[in-house]
């Protein structure tokens, strides 16, 4: 199944809460808080683009999440 890397920006101090919520999601393989350009990184396995879209929307809805950026695996 293809993979996707979701990069998340959070409001200051909201990272732990958002990370907890992300970890509860179904298809998340790994997720952690980071130092650097983004606050949280999550790796997803998804069946189709629609399911990935729903997952990213779920993340975007989490209280404290400001923005997300998704890198979808290309099957070269």
């Amino acid at each position: 199944m293809p993979l996707a890397c979701v990069l998340v920006h959070c409001k200051p101090g909201k990272d732990p809460y958002a990370l907890e919520k992300i970890k509860e999601m179904k298809d998340v393989k790994r997720a952690f808080e980071t130092l650097g350009a983004f606050d949280i990184v999550a790796e997803f396995e998804f069946k189709n683009l629609e399911k990935l879209g729903v997952a990213v929307y779920e993340i975007a809805k989490i209280d404290g999440v400001v923005s997300t950026e998704t890198l979808i695996e290309t099957l070269l």
Partner: protein, 74 residues
């Protein structure tokens, strides 16, 4: 274990070669080429903080990689 997510930009022609080389680097757990602002993503795991710099240096040294962004687990 400390997780590190490394986002890379690479010469378009050598993306596949870079991914193959990445897969051989110990510590790299998962790597795949991507659509979007970055060309390749690599999820890595290292024992301790001191291992991060050598890992990133090794990845930067791969021919074709011209930009990396490292996201180190808090």
């Amino acid at each position: 274990m400390i997780q590190v997510c490394i986002l890379m930009n690479a010469e378009k022609v050598s993306i596949l070669d870079v991914v193959k080389k990445l897969e051989k680097i110990p510590g790299v757990v998962e790597t795949f080429p991507t659509f979007g602002r970055f060309d390749i993503v690599a999820f890595c795991e290292v024992e301790k903080r001191e291992d991060i710099t050598p890992l990133i240096r090794k990845i930067n040294a791969i021919e074709g990689v011209y930009k990396t962004e490292s996201l180190i687990e808090l």
